[in-house]
Assembly symmetry: C2
Amino acid sequence: MPVAISKPAMERLSQYRRYLLHERQQKRTFVFSHQLAAMMGITASLVRRDIMVTGCMGNPSKGYRIDDLLDAIAQLVDTEEPTPIILVGLGKLGSALLGFFRSRRPNLRIVAAFDTHTDKVGRVYQGTHCYPLDELPATIHAQQVKTAILCVPSEAAQEVADTLVVAGITGLLNFAPTRLYVPANVYVESIDLTTMLEKTVFFARQHDCARD
Amino acid sequence: MPVAISKPAMERLSQYRRYLLHERQQKRTFVFSHQLAAMMGITASLVRRDIMVTGCMGNPSKGYRIDDLLDAIAQLVDTEEPTPIILVGLGKLGSALLGFFRSRRPNLRIVAAFDTHTDKVGRVYQGTHCYPLDELPATIHAQQVKTAILCVPSEAAQEVADTLVVAGITGLLNFAPTRLYVPANVYVESIDLTTMLEKTVFFARQHDCARD
DNA sequence: GGGTGTGAAGCCGTTCACAGCA
DNA sequence: TGCTGTGAACGGCTTCACACCC
């Protein structure tokens, strides 16, 4: 672990990259921190702080070289080879996510999908093969998979998570609205869609009241 | 706005509720703060702090009455009538979300979906009718919708968001990987799935290195 | 004794402020 | 002059610590 990166900083780096890639396509070669800040809706200091952890150096009159930034971010957050990922649970949400993640970052490849339903097993969804759950450990070992996306119903989530952890998964992106109990050496990122919607509704109402 | 609730507190209240509803189904009538804390993976003090803002009072020997808590949370975060919500963008992700949110909180009803593709308009997805985009303002006004879920491609997101805001939307749950520029009286909650996956991959690797 | 309610302290991410530099 | 790099200050959320109560 070369440098410690906080979770919010990590999220921002991922988003800087998206913007930088876009800018590079426009043949631009330099950016100022305040430009990144403006498009992210944050302060320029924060951008510079984030860039500090990448070790990238800017130039007071030109700003940061986009290629340097992209390399630095890639070196910090990516591996050399594409990272294999698996997805468990091919319900509506699961297969939508398969499609969503396909064709985003080419370095993040969903190499296999898993489901219990026998009618799904063997078929191909969004270009990804579906296997039965009991092939999980073999696939994880064979491809050295470390990250899994979990889209199974809440009731099954903990059990599947246990299987994944035993098989060697150390990172879980969890869409089931349940807390997962995992060992300390496993990272869980939960996206609780219902909670997010309730939160949006709540603040929508609050903002509505506050309007003049 | 009776009490100020921070964003993290709001998320936790939504999650307490899920657990409390589950407990009530098991015929349990009281909980201690440390029980809620254990299942959320947080400290008991934090739970008590959150409960403080609801105005609910506990009993040192019994804990909190579950019905009281549920009422207090509902009063704080819900409206009396079901809240109407619209969803824009019926791609794979959009229709998966329609299905996901249907049958979750009955008080949050997705009353209509919208898309530009003429072959989708007029059809029914997951029990929800799909309308063309130009009917957005009429529907928002007619049903007094304040919250919208945005699942359109990045390129279209800002334009659609502008339309929504003009029509009176004050809360946006955005799945497009772009920052949205909106007036200060509009709340935006963005779920950046690609960033979340990158984040998970990054910390998965870090945790993997740190294991003994 | 064990749990609640809450002032006070702590922590960590963000912002400020400014020296250094092109 | 205007931007970068960064120590110092700030602020808000979380945790500590403890009085009070059953």
